[in-house]
Amino acid sequence: MDSKTCLSLVRDIFATNHFVQLCGIIIDEVGCGTARLRMPIIAEKHTNLSGNVHGGALSTLANTAVGVACSSAGCIVVTQSITTNFIRNIKANHTATCQARITHLGRSTVTVTAEVFDDQQHLMCQTLASMFVKGHSEAIPAKW
């Protein structure tokens, strides 16, 4: 399996994910156990009362990136627990990019870290998630 094939498979899996579509999240790149996603910030969609991105939108980006990273290692997962630390925020017409990486790939749990960056590569938030393994994908191997 190469990155391109995996990316196409993962994009297919996430195409039916309504909340991901609603938030305008795009999967840019996958490696084995890693994923890079982006979310262009739209004023009418993602912002809160201060005109910055709503924490829930950034949490969604991070949570989705964690799921994609697990998919890239052939795991079908659900979130058990997720923690996000918010450091910096952005306004509309900028893009938030999230890089997720599996730190532990177990039989029943996967732990993943994700970092969200702004256009200038400033760290916006840091996420640590513990995912429960529901099953394994037949199309994507655990190692490639």
């Binding site: 993602h46 969604t60 980006l61």
Partner: protein
Amino acid sequence: MDAAACLKIVRDIYKSNHFVALCEIKIDSVACGEATLSMIINPEKHTNLYGVVHGGALEALADTAVGVASATVGARVMTLSINMNFIKNIHPGEKATAVARVRHQGRTTIIVDVDTWNEQQELMGRTIATMFVRGQFENIPAKW
């Protein structure tokens, strides 16, 4: 200040919150330091690939409930850190209700916890958040 007056002010504040509107989150009731919010699951909006609610949508509900609970004590806040444990999930058409309570009200930080329930009053998620106090809402007192 009574609950009805506070509810009206808080609903006005959240009117201009695009992400909250996008997620169809409603503020049901407030008390001093408490807020109950709900979100009816829309199959075209909130679901993930399994047809249940995306974790990010439930986080958005919880994160918003935290903000509203903080507003009921007159605090204008932003999320510093949020942790959510997912216990149960629901299907489209059902309603998720988040009940947030301010546990510590400091000068610079507020700690809030949130229980998210399904319609059968079963616990769906447990959240704890640390909020940074950016300022005050002049029309809502800290105690009432």
